[in-house]
Subunit: 238 residues, 2 copies
Amino acid sequence: MTFVGSSRLLPTAPRNARGQALDIIRQKIITLELAPGSQLSENELAGQLGLSRTPVRESLILLAEEQLVSVVPQVGTLVSPIVEAEIATSQFVRESLELAALSEAVYMVDAAQLAGLNALIAEQRVADERDDTELFFALDEQFHFALMNISQHGSAWRTVSQAKAHLDRARRLSLSLTQQMSTLIDQHQSIVDAVARGDSGAATDALRRHLRKVFDDIALIRAARPELFAPATPTRRR
Amino acid sequence: MTFVGSSRLLPTAPRNARGQALDIIRQKIITLELAPGSQLSENELAGQLGLSRTPVRESLILLAEEQLVSVVPQVGTLVSPIVEAEIATSQFVRESLELAALSEAVYMVDAAQLAGLNALIAEQRVADERDDTELFFALDEQFHFALMNISQHGSAWRTVSQAKAHLDRARRLSLSLTQQMSTLIDQHQSIVDAVARGDSGAATDALRRHLRKVFDDIALIRAARPELFAPATPTRRR
DNA sequence: ATACAAGTACTGCCATACAAGTACGCAAGT
DNA sequence: ACTTGCGTACTTGTATGGCAGTACTTGTAT
């Protein structure tokens, strides 16, 4: 597993044990390697990661704040099930913030930033050709961050990224992500083109269409396989 | 100090030591009882609160994630200075989310919700007459939460509340909060009136004006006393 | 008086031990 | 067969000790 494009903003690797544990566990939850509803154990995770309970426990507390796990005292820690309401909230947060940032960004973008965005799109085309969804997810994260960074509100990315994590996790339920990559990349291009033209309305429209597509794809998954959402009974470990 | 209207949504008191420590420390930071830039110590806080270092440390980790403190390994934990960029980001997040939620809320509000909002405004008038700023802060928090809760996005309040915490802390630098309460309450009334009329544009305009006033007040403080923002040297404890 | 270096007293980080509480299985009694 | 009660094996919560690294202090030499 590569941690390129992890949610942690600074690419500098987390030098302490807690940072390592947080990144690894978080990534495993988002990629569904740790199934929604499954039970975790501080002790077991500590053993697997070769750490003591302390940094693992601190990571789980942070993940609970992010709503990715829920800790029940004296009972256990559960990977949060994928709940429609949570997805809708994440979509609302992400959409509101990205759109508001982009509407300002149109008036302050420079040539270097546009070139950077186009370069990311080119890399995404490569990822598409290789059917490398992991690479695409990482580049997608970079693209949306770069877009938001044009305005002065790049430091709000932390908030957006947390919302995006819930949406990405739900997206991974889809079996055929590879078929949608080219559409998503085209939408990326439409956004950048509108920004380059200085057309604020077209840019926000294009971004809204893009984000709504992601959300609608999740709705399609839910329609096809409702059992994947909000599993009623938590999965016990043994 | 009363914890009515603390940031924790559920009024159910935190039953474990970490929850207590988190609420107390957080409140002391927001109310400036713990000065921006001042140094904290896990040991010292644990002693003051009558707890061990563990729950205190876990609280500080959560506060660091919220950007209210910054932890420097082997050096110390500092209460975050009030930095203009951080304020601007918080304003951006709060404004974007509250406005987006309100624009939807106008079409789904019912009579009971309007009555609840007006009741909160009435309470705020009382707080104004008594010059009780602490009560007003609590009621203000309740009002904005109730407003956001009309739409289906009440669960995004957690995010808004974290941004609002930074703005509230900066607001407390102002010496004359009592003189502004009546204006703020009038603006609350304008928002509710517009929502009651079903006038989406007027409602969002009124809310934007309201939130911008809060932001502009902070800018005035900064203009008058720039030394309160981003203190260059951290305050050592002895 | 100044520069420098060793000492010392802190810091947060991590590991570990113990405490409190819950869930489940199994056995005894009805 | 079913219910009930207890024991056991887990769970997270909290306390504490030791470690490594930083900053300030103090003594010494220049």
